[in-house]
């Protein structure tokens, strides 16, 4: 099956790093350094990805058809021409959207108790009620 005929629910489960990278690329075209910075930004500095984690994941995302490499190269005056830029494919956008919906639902279900002063007590109260 080719990447273009895949549906979001037919793609293999994504690792956490893969989700970070998909969300970090977003609507832009980004290279490894920009992806690394964006991951750090969207996770509030909690996740610092190294070159190995970034490029082994990029390789898998390319193979799964979730991202693609941009054909264009930057102007040599502005940037190193060896840099490659990656962007989401249509499938990648769908998968990213599905992942965001899943995370959103998860957060929504946890919000009522997780953000109270004593989440465990709240959970206990709910179970008794």
């Amino acid at each position: 099956m080719t990447a273009t005929t895949k549906q979001p629910d037919q793609t293999p489960p994504l690792s956490r790093v893969a989700v970070y990278i998909l969300l970090a690329i977003g609507p832009e075209e980004r290279h490894g350094y920009a992806i690394m910075h964006e991951v750090r930004r969207i996770t509030g500095g909690a996740v610092k990805l190294g070159p190995g984690a970034i490029y082994t994941t990029i390789k898998r995302l390319l193979a799964d058809g979730l991202i693609e490499e941009s054909d264009e190269r930057p102007d040599s005056d502005l940037d190193d021409q060896r840099r490659r830029y990656y962007r989401l494919t249509a499938l990648g956008r769908s998968v990213a959207a599905a992942e965001v919906r899943r995370l959103d639902a998860m957060v929504a279900s946890a919000r009522p108790w997780a953000l109270t002063p004593d989440p465990f007590r709240a959970l206990l109260d709910r179970s008794r009620a």
């Binding site: 290279h31 920009a34 190294g50 070159p51 190995g52 490029y55 082994t56 956008r93």
Partner: protein, 306 residues
């Protein structure tokens, strides 16, 4: 797709310019990338070194201690991702073994093995057809048939057992080239196995037969060369490997230098056994070549074990 507007086309945040020339740290990191599989390294090494250089630059700009932390984090990242990439590479290949779709080059090598194997056993049916220089051509083609099969099956076998596969392929390739060279050099020698130089010739001959047996034994042990073939092709290939295991040592008995075939008591028996071994080895390579040349359309018969 919605490409970002001009300022953000390549990402909005990092302020990057042309990368500086590689420093010592980047060169060391580039060397450490040998830990990754070759194909991965070939494709991503440049970008990884660039990214590492960017991280170092950031760390230096922040404070000196950040450089050490960056190195430690990068080394941990390298170890974990390199191990993962190696495991993934083997798993990907093992999964692809579920189907047998020989490439054009594999089919070509298979065809060479069929020709070489058939030429070897052809003299059992058409005595005298190959004489003089023609016989050298026949022997060289036969010697290369084993190397062809070894090379054609190498990637599949190495996905399951890299070291064993390398031993098998190296044995048939080296023996094939050695025997071919010996035969070409001994083109006009009436008794190439005699004399001091004859020892090299005879050893090359021995290595040719024994490497065939070794290849057959390893192929049976690894059990990966024929995975994904149809049931009949799998059975044929397994039988061919077994034939090589039996035929190779028998054929080695017939080398004229050792004089076993001249033995007064067992000479005739050894001679017949050696001829049988030659026939079996030729048939074994020809069958494996045929499986390579014709296989791949029967669908997956055997399942992946890995």
């Amino acid at each position: 797709m919605g490409v970002a507007q001009a300022p953000g086309r390549f990402g909005t945040d990092p302020d990057f310019g042309a990368a500086p020339r590689l420093g010592l740290s980047e060169r060391i990191y580039a060397g450490l990338l040998l830990a990754y599989p070759g194909q991965f390294r070939k494709r991503y090494a440049d970008e990884m070194v660039l990214l590492f250089g960017d991280q170092l630059r950031d760390a230096r700009a922040a404070n000196g201690a950040g450089v050490t932390a960056t190195w430690i984090r990068t080394l941990l990242d390298l170890v974990s991702s390199a191990v993962g990439e190696h495991l993934r590479k083997d798993r990907d290949m093992a999964q692809s073994l579920a189907t047998f779709e020989p490439t054009r080059s594999m089919r070509g090598l298979g065809l060479l093995a069929v020709v070489g194997g058939c030429l070897l056993i052809g003299v059992f049916f058409w005595t005298g057809l190959f004489a003089g220089p023609d016989n050298t051509v026949r022997l060289v083609l036969f010697a290369l048939s084993g190397a062809a099969v070894g090379l054609a099956f190498h990637r599949r076998q190495s996905a399951v057992a890299p070291r064993l596969a390398l031993v098998a392929t190296a044995a048939v390739v080296v023996a094939g080239l050695w025997y071919s060279t010996s035969n070409i050099l001994a083109l006009n020698a009436p008794r190439p196995w005699a004399g001091a130089g004859g020892l090299v010739y005879s050893l090359s001959s021995m290595s040719l037969w024994l490497s065939a047996a070794l290849f057959g034994a390893i192929a049976l042990r690894i059990d990966a060369a024929w995975r994904g073939m149809s049931r009949w092709f799998t059975a044929t290939a397994r039988m061919a490997a077994l034939i090589l295991v039996i035929g190779g040592p028998l054929a080695a008995l017939g080398d004229d230098r050792w004089g076993l075939t001249d033995d007064a008591t067992y000479g005739t028996l050894i001679s017949q056994a050696a001829l049988l071994g030659v026939f079996l080895t030729g048939a074994g390579w020809a069958l494996l070549g045929a499986v390579l040349a014709l296989g791949g359309r029967g669908g997956g018969g055997s399942r992946v074990k890995a």
